[in-house]
């Protein structure tokens, strides 16, 4: 069987990226001044998508990390510290934020290699909390202590009298950030697609299903798991750095918030785990739900939000993408059942083929008596 020749996933990414180029101007034309806040909402959704997709890339190896906020915070603090102490160009903090996150991720990953499931989750949560209190206790003159540090914005659009209106300054700022976040998301998506198209996809599934079996088949679980850790933390580290500039400050409790980790894992679960599309669909879906609820129920909208999450996990265990996928698969499964019947070897659910059952029961019709 030859593999598909048209890389539809890459074509789709290219089309969406080109379309995204026109989004800010289109919003400005449509909504005028209100486009500033709409653009902020879009940026929040893009940010959530990067957060969720980077978490999912690690989860594909079966490592359900509760340390995602730590790498986000490391990226944020890296760029903040660079700005405070070194007169380097402002943009360098973003890739370096990613690199520092990778360094810590490889360290954490090596320590947690042998931990599985819940023990891994607890260890990563502990790592994130220890790091947070460490940052709290760094010398105030070095890292700002509880009060954190200010972080300069990436963009300072100037008001030019006569050529624009006052509100357009805020629009220009959001427009610029939109492109940064969109670029970061495109990079994350491309990384995810490269992983999914490479032989690493097979290694990820094998390790996630059964690490012992994967090892016996020649997969080196330690290497693959560390690689996933590194890629995942690179993007969330860069995201943390960019967000620090947009928000304008870093604080231990805000940059290392457990809520960041919760969002990072809830979003792919809602959208569909272990896929490129799932976390993005999840980010769009959850941002929209949250915004709609916020507008319709001003008080206690978080209760509604929580309810949506609980219901979706109950009724869509494989997420939005899973529901769509199942509809597409139903036809395929019927074709498969026919193939199995033709290939012989008994019906799928015969009791006699249970492992450990005595091998005496009567043979299939047509077999020896």
């Amino acid at each position: 069987m030859k593999r598909r020749t048209v890389p539809w996933d890459l074509v789709l990414v290219a089309l969406v990226a080109v379309a995204a180029w026109f989004v800010p101007e289109a919003m400005k034309a449509l909504f005028g001044r209100a486009s500033i806040s709409y653009l902020s909402l879009v940026i929040n959704a893009l940010s959530l998508a990067v957060l969720a997709l980077s978490w999912d890339m690690l989860a594909r190896t079966g490592q359900l990390s509760l340390a995602h906020a730590a790498f986000y915070g490391l990226g944020a603090y890296t760029t903040a510290l660079l700005l405070k102490h070194l007169a380097w160009p402002i943009w360098i903090g973003i890739p370096l934020g990613g690199v520092v996150a990778v360094g810590f991720a490889v360290l954490l990953g090596s320590l947690t290699l042998r931990l599985r499931a819940i023990y891994f989750a607890i260890a990563t949560l502990a790592f994130a909390e220890v790091l947070k209190s460490l940052v709290h206790n760094l010398p105030t003159e070095f890292a700002g202590g509880n009060a954190g540090m200010n972080v300069a914005p990436l963009f300072r659009p100037q008001f030019v009298a006569g050529q624009m209106e006052r509100w357009e300054v805020a629009f220009l700022r959001n427009e610029a950030y939109f492109y940064v976040y969109a670029g970061l998301l495109v990079a994350t998506v491309l990384a995810s697609i490269v992983l999914q198209r490479s032989r690493l996809r097979h290694a990820f599934i094998a390790i996630r299903t059964n690490e012992d079996v994967a090892g016996v088949m020649g997969v080196r679980p330690a290497r693959v798991k560390l690689l996933a850790f590194a890629v995942s933390s690179l993007f969330v580290g860069m995201l943390g750095a960019v967000e620090a500039h947009r928000v304008g400050s870093v604080l231990p409790d805000q940059s290392f918030a457990v809520a960041t980790t919760v969002l990072a894992l809830v979003t792919p679960i809602f959208g569909g785990l272990y896929t490129t599309l799932g976390p993005i669909v999840g980010a769009i879906g959850l941002s929209s739900v949250q915004e709609l609820l916020k507008r319709s129920l001003s008080e206690g909208y978080l209760i509604g939000y929580g309810l949506v999450l609980v219901l979706s996990i109950l009724f869509m265990p494989r997420g939005v993408v899973g529901v769509i996928g199942r509809a597409l698969r139903r036809r395929r499964t019927n074709a498969q059942r026919r193939a199995i019947a033709m290939a012989g070897g008994g019906a799928p659910d015969e009791g006699a083929s249970e492992p450990g059952a005595p091998p005496e029961p009567p043979a299939r019709p047509g077999g020896t008596a």
Partner: protein, 242 residues
């Protein structure tokens, strides 16, 4: 002939309990070698020591003269030790072909994609799974799953294939098919070491048999000889039966 696989004094203790004690054997190239014994004799522990899922307390393992004792499971696979599990464990999210492809892609580092796909298709062909290549692994019957288990191990292109009770739960007709499959594997140049409970299968397949009891080697030799050995009969039936 120099042995391909050598186990020298393999011992595994869990706390004070010796699950396997001082087990030694040689397997010649092209041989089909059976390890039998009553439940709890330590057969699966030996197989786990061979494939690296357990580290021995003492002893040594050699493949073609190379010491594998401290190697990881993946490194042993790269060196040529393939393994099929007793409890079949396919990757349910993948098709049959993708399951086999895992072995082909990672069995030897640096195999080009096209070559790996060729090896996977060959393993499917040899195990009679070609028609089911695009079926999801979770849809298979037990017999088909066992074939898949063997196909995955074959795709790593092993020199020695370790089989853990592949006949368990199969009906007689299916077991006969499985015997033919294993013979075909050996005729393809792969040495086979297998654990088995079903005695007719051992009789039909094994060139040589190692009998274990209480973690130790009881005796070793051709099937016809070992089943006559009073110690073997005693181990299986108890003292009164002897």
């Amino acid at each position: 002939m120099t042995p391909l696989l050598r186990a020298i004094g393999l011992t595994k203790r869990f706390g004070g309990l010796a699950a396997v004690e001082d087990v030694s054997f040689d397997v010649a190239p092209g041989e089909i070698f059976a390890i039998i014994g009553p439940n709890g004799a330590g057969k699966t522990t030996v197989l786990n020591l061979l494939s690296g899922l357990l580290a021995p307390t003492s002893g040594r393992l050699e493949l073609d003269g190379h010491d594998l004792t401290t190697r990881s499971t993946a490194e042993r696979c790269h060196a040529g030790l393939g393994r099929a599990f007793q409890v079949v464990q396919p990757f349910p999210e993948m098709t049959v072909r993708d399951n086999v492809l895992v072995g082909a892609l990672f069995g030897h580092p640096g195999v080009p994609r096209a070559e790996a796909e060729r090896r996977a298709d060959e393993a499917l062909e040899r195990t009679g799974l070609t028609a089911l290549a695009d079926v999801d692994a979770e849809e298979l019957t037990l017999m088909q799953e066992k074939r898949l288990e063997i196909a995955r191990a074959l795709a790593t292109q092993p020199r020695v294939l370790l089989l853990d009770e592949v006949m368990a739960g199969l009906r007689p007709a299916e077991a006969r098919d499985a015997v033919q499959l294993v013979k075909g594997v050996r005729d393809g140049g792969v040495t086979v070491v297998f654990i088995e409970h079903v005695m007719p299968v051992v009789r039909d397949l094994a060139d040589r048999v190692l009998v274990m009891d209480h973690g130790q080697v009881l005796t070793e030799g051709p099937y016809a000889e070992v089943v006559q050995d009073p110690r073997v009969i005693e181990a299986y039936l108890g003292k009164e039966g002897a």
